[in-house]
Symmetry: D3
Subunit: 61 residues, 6 copies
């Protein structure tokens, strides 16, 4: 606890995901006082045909 | 905003998903007064072995 | 099935929520071929201090 | 209703998932008084590179 | 891990919620081989005006 | 995009939540290359009787 979910378009590299998880965890620890080992981060990849803004999917643009 | 998530069994065609996203966005705009460009829709596909009703997965029926 | 979640800022009236649920359900039925009685809609209200864009909460603007 | 989501590391067998869904459904029926046919269970698999504790992904350990 | 979310209509008693959490945790441990102390359960209450089946909210029936 | 959800025990102050949202947004921008104005953060408060580890709710400890 806290539990953080980051939902983003697929395509980020493993290096980016590793850095994301580290920096987000640090940001949570610094601002909430949570113990680092208790912070959990989930990443969710979205494909372009499953994400739409204004009624239009990214895969249709 | 609003953010809409539609979770459904995998297997719909790209045409169905495209239409789904358009019509759902219109429905949200019409009833909530949100600006169209602000409406976000996410689609989540469920495989049959990850979805159960009454203790039985669809893949086991 | 499908399961639809609509996350939006709190403050919509009951009439708006009722209409939202009806129209979104119709849109899902029309485009996915799902049976109307199987479509489930969840509404989630967000307070302004729990929603941020660009690092700024709506309650801080 | 109720709607139960079980998020876990990928790798469980079909037999484990089938048993999981049955036992969790029974537990929900027994304790909430819900009708068995109304209980819905979703399974979500997490890959090791999308799950981190303490700022470290399982795939990096 | 695993992480279980149970979404249900508001109104269950504290005794029901306590029993729910215990039994669901046992079911997960028994079927997945997870260590008991690692199983996390979240409960989410839904008000009747935020839940609809077939385009009709429970509060409108 | 990305969309970040932070789920944590209720009780943090407005100052903590404001700082959380700022720092997490910065961490996401820095590591994913996303444009700052596109990063969305949702906070979800959990009450102690709706969160359990090892079959025991925090409110029962």
């Amino acid at each position: 606890m806290p539990y953080v979910t980051v939902k983003m378009l697929e395509g980020r590299t493993e290096e980016q995901k590793q850095a994301l998880v580290e920096k987000v965890t640090d940001a949570v620890v610094e601002t909430t006082g949570a113990t680092k080992e208790k912070v959990v981060v989930f990443i969710e990849d979205m494909p372009k045909n499953h994400y739409a803004v204004g009624g239009k999917r990214l895969s249709d643009q």
